[in-house]
Each structure stands twice: as C-alpha cells, then as structure tokens.
C-alpha cells in the first residue's frame, strides 16, 4: 500500500533490466519497499539487476520469468504476482529499439519490434489493469517515447510502436477512471542507456536517473503524462505542428 506521503511498498517491473525502471526503484525510499519484482527473460543481466537492488538493502527483490512475446503466458504470471500481495506501482519498461534500415530490408525484424513493444505491452497492460482494478488502487507506468509523437524517417518503425502503445495507454487510463487505479504515460526524449549507446546524442538528452526523478515525482502528484525532460512537452507540441516540408528537413 502507498503510505500517506505516497511512498510505495511494492513495485513490479516488466523489462526487469531496464535502466530507467531500475533508476526509478532506486529513487523511491528504499527502506519502505517490501516487495520488488523484476520480470524478464532469465539472463545474467536480470540476475545482476536483482543483485544490484539487494546490495542496496532493498527487501523482497525477486526475478520473475516473463517473455513479452509469449502473450499466452502473461495472465498466469500476473495473477501469480497479484495473488501474493497488492502491487502499488507496475512499470511497463520492456522494448526494442530495433534497427530501421534492417527493418526496411527484412520486415520480420519490424514485426519483432512491433510484437514486443506493442503487442506484448497491450497484453501485459490489460492483465495488469484487470488486477489493479480488482485491488482498487495502484499505478501503471508506461514507458512511451517522444518518437511516437511524430514519425520520423530515421526510426519510424520504433516510433510507430510507441505511438500505438501511447494511444493504448491513454485509453486504458480512461477505462480505469473511477477504479482507484491509473496510468502514468512517460515520454522520454533521448536517454543515455545501453539501448541508445550506439547512437549520436540528440538535444535535451537525459540520463535514466533524470527520468526516474520525473517518474517518482509524477506518481506522487498522480499525473497522467510526463515528458522527460519536462520542457520536451513544448518542443514536441511545436514539432507536431510543423509543416511536413519543414519537419522532413530537420536533422534526424
């Protein structure tokens, strides 16, 4: 349960190795946490994430086997978690950036990105929403992206999956109105992570820790959408209204 100051006791992360999700957990008061579940495909990096949090003296850190593409399995996994105890904050943090050029040459690569980022999130998101509604409280944090705000030549496959996910999350938040549960959509710009380490940095680049601070503050205030960094909201509002001829000439 959240306490009066909005501090969570239990967190469930899908995409348990996500640097943004891990930074978000570290941003929460650690001694308040009683149960932290990192869901992902079994891997050394997932084990390392569990060990890292345990080393910080966070109690109840466990790894859970979860494959975004295996949507048939999602219901049972999520029921298992919620049957154990209430979850205050769920973070949907898995996703593939993919490679735009590869995707254009081999559409099956695009399909994989779409399956993980969109289909997997829709499936997990709906199962989570069902349980949050049942417990009458809780937040679902959806890691969207500014890439979904307006499609760009350089990464439109990834961008389209985030656009779809973002629209899904907006609708889900509307569906949860009055149930005590809600959705927080997070739209980061360029974040320095493993996923982007091979790319040149864009303006307004942030670190996972910066995004984490924004997420934790937004959860306390009960916000529905946040950009990271915050001023990106206005940049994106501007970009969305640029005429196509101008937008396409911007550096990618």
């Amino acid at each position: 349960m959240l306490d009066a100051l909005g501090e969570p006791q239990s967190v469930l992360v899908f995409g348990g190795t996500s640097e943004i999700a891990l930074a978000t957990i570290k941003e929460m008061p650690r001694h308040r946490l009683r149960r932290v579940l990192l869901a992902g495909r079994p891997s050394e990096s997932l084990d390392a994430a569990v060990a890292e949090l345990r080393d910080l003296n966070i109690t109840g850190v466990e790894a859970i086997e979860f494959d975004a593409k295996n949507t048939e399995s999602h219901g049972a996994i999520i029921d298992g978690v919620f049957d154990g105890s209430d979850i205050d904050v769920v973070i949907l943090a898995f996703g593939l950036l993919g490679d735009q050029m590869t995707a254009e040459e081999d559409p099956s690569h695009a399909v994989e990105v779409a399956t993980v980022n969109y289909t997997g999130s829709v499936s997990a998101g709906l199962h989570v929403a069902r349980r949050l509604k049942n417990q009458g409280h809780g937040a679902l944090v959806v890691l969207s992206s500014v890439a979904g705000d307006r499609a760009r030549r350089s990464n439109y496959v990834y961008g389209s999956t985030k656009a779809g996910l973002d629209a899904f999350a907006q609708g889900l938040d509307a569906a949860l109105a009055g149930t005590g549960a809600h959705v927080l959509i997070v739209r980061p710009g360029f974040v320095r992570t493993r996923m982007t380490s091979h790319l040149p940095e864009a303006p307004m680049t942030t670190n996972p820790e910066d995004v984490a601070k924004i997420i934790v503050a937004a959860l306390k205030k009960g916000k529905s959408t946040v950009y990271a960094p915050g001023p990106l909201r206005f940049v994106m509002a501007g970009l969305k209204t640029l005429p196509k001829s101008v937008f396409r000439k911007l550096p990618s």
Binding site: M1, L2, D3, A4, L5, G6, E7, Q9, P29, H31, R32, R34, D83, S85, D86, K133, N134, Q135, G136, H137, G178, T179, G180
Partner: protein
Amino acid sequence: MSGAVATELSGWGRTMPTVARLVDAHSETQISELIKDADSRGVLARGLGRSYGDAAQSGGATVIDMTTMTGFRLDADNMSVTADAGASIDEILRQIVPRGFFVPVSAGTRIITVGGAIAGDIHGKNHHRDGSFGAHVTELALIDGLGVMHNLTPKDPRFWATVGGMGLTGVIVSATFTVIPIQSSYITVDTERGKDLDAVMSSMLERDHEYRYTVAWIDSVSASGRGVITRGDHSTAQQCNDDKIKNPRSYDPKKIATAPGLVPKGALNKWTVQAFNEGWFRKHPSLRVGEQQKISAFFHPLDGVQEWNRIYGPQGFLQYQFQVPDSAGNLVEIALGKLREIGAPSFLTVLKRFGPGNQAPLSFPQSGWTLAADLPAGVPGLGRTLDQLDDLISAEGGRLYLAKDSRQSPTNFARTYPRLEEWREIRDTMDPNHVFASDLSRRLEI
C-alpha cells in the same frame, strides 16, 4: 452484489484514497451474508471516517457503511447505553446529556461511531484516571469471519482482541457501555499557561491527577515549547447555580461554520500557523480558575467547523501521535524540535498524560506521555523525519496510534506492538480465512 457502489474512500487526512464496493448496512443477516459471500479482497466495516489514515478503507473490498444502523437506548437505572455500532457519539450525547449522563470517554471529536470507538479503543482527556473506551464496554455483539454472531463480554479474550482490533476480528454490530452521571452540560475549567515545555510538563506531572480531564496545547512553532494546559471536571448543579447558568443541562451543539471546499496549496504554512499559535497562546490568561465551558467547547472545539480537514488542501495531512513511557519524556521535546527543523507547521499539537493500558493486545495507550501533531503531507523531508522519530520512539518502548497512523512501516509496527502474535492467534480463531482486511492491515501486514 446488490446495492454495492464503487466508491473512493479515504481517512480524515484525505491521503491515499482507494476504491471499494460500499454497501449500506441493513441488518445482521445481511452483514452475515456479505461476509459469507466475500471474495479474496475481503470485508471491512466503516463508520464516520474520522480515523486519519487507512484504517477504514479497503481497496477492492466490500466495505460496509455502518452509519445506516444507528439505534440506541439509555438504561438510566443501570447507567448504560446499548447502541448499534453505527450510532454516533454525537447523537447519543444529544439524547443523554439533557438526561444527566455523559459518555465515559470522549475523543477530540464526537462525530464517531460506537463501533469505531471500540475498534480504535479511543482515549480522551481522562485517560490518566479512567482508561480508554474499551474499559467501559460491558458487552458487544460481533459477527465473525464465518458470518456467525457472538455476544462477547470482558471475560472473553475475543472481546479484548476486538477492542483496539481495528475492525479486523469481525463486524461489531452493537455494544453496551457504561455512562457517567452528570449534573450539567458544563465543565468547570482551570486554564494555565506554561512559558516553556518544561513548565508545561512539570505542571502536568504535578497536578493532572487532581482533575478528571486534562490536556495541553503546545505551540509547536515556538522553540520554547510553551503551551496552555486546560483541566476540568463536570460542573455540579451548585456551581452552575453560583455562576447563574439558566439551563444547566441544555445541550445542542451547532455547526458554526464549514471550512471552504477549495483551499489553495500552501495556505497553511509556517507563517500562518505561527500567527495562529501566537494568537492562541495570548488568548489564554496565564492562569484562570473555575471558568464554565460548554461540554462541546471543552471536548470537541473542532466539531464546530465542518470538514475542517479541507484546510490542508489537496495533498491532505496526517496526524502523528505517539506514546512514550515517563522515562522517555524527553522524546516529546526531541519530536517537537525535529518537526520544527523541517518547518512542519502544526497548529494542533496536543500533549497528554496516559494512565496504565488495558488488557487489549493492540490497544494504544500505556502509562506515560502522548503527543499528537497534525502535519500537512506535503512538507519536504517529513517522511524521513518521522521515520527517525519512529526509531527513537520504538527504542524507548513507545509506539504509534493505529487510528491515526498512515505511514509507519510494518517492521516498526511489529516491533512496537509486542503482543501482536497473541492477538493474531485469537484473530485466527475468529477469522480463520482472514476475510477482514483494510488498507491499514495490508500496509502493516497485520
């Protein structure tokens, strides 16, 4: 389920709301059916929602609104009241005060139910001599976790598990408690200002036993810890006559005002509270003896302002109430100091002496001091400061009041209520499937 309405519920502090299926209570049979039909989210009874934290809410559960069953009767010969759990102390006082009786224990608000008074084992300004509410209950009727009704008396351990049991042993449907005879609806009040915390605390140690009711208001903003002690007892007919009071038994407290619905964030800050506290301290004479105050003015001054909890704005507030033994009385000063350091403004800071506790495993009061401070939830650093205080208090054998708590950790709770296991064993016989659950019981892993 028939009649259930998805409803957002929170405590008086208006923090951390959750949504439950709220059902009006109609009858014992219906309550019993609701318990038998409960799903895994469980069942909880709710009264008038004056617990500050998450005690009377339960996300996703069936929450039974007990305030639809409000019958009660006074047995003047036996000096007792038998009431439905949903009957309010407010309504009861309106009937019994003019007939010359008063409740044995009165909290700082009369807008509470009999069921809530038992479940929270509430205390009042007379704890140092009369104990808490549970000590005056002679019988209670409870529907357990299997939907079975029981009449419990103080000889039964299940009775004491229910007193202070926060509604987790069953649904209390009715209770009988003793009332005390009074000759008037007035209190003869002596007021004394203390120039600093030492002066206030020494005076309380020295003289509290001379009065039935005592409490001290502390100026939490002033570094001195100065305060105002008010003490009193029920006025006799003779005293009222001497003071030329015309209708000494009339009792009809009115709502004087409603707090504004929309209060800007930060309206209640260090400076406004400082101004209030300065005025409040100066309003009282350094010493005044024998003043006649109405019962409502003495016991329930805030009940005159409806929805006063809204003045804290959208982020809500919490009340931090702890208790420490006399040997750790210095923690009162430490707590006030730490709250002042982070600039947590509190205009309602109350210090009181407790007498010995009772047999109830989860009852809060124990001999010593209790300090209660209302604090806006948005104060930066509040969580860390209160966690530090929790540690200091638990190290001295003190603890927090569950009817006020909204933020302590499960470890702090378990450490400070050493009879928790004993209580759990009794609870398991009354509610083997753990049907009764609240957000508080989930947060504290009770």
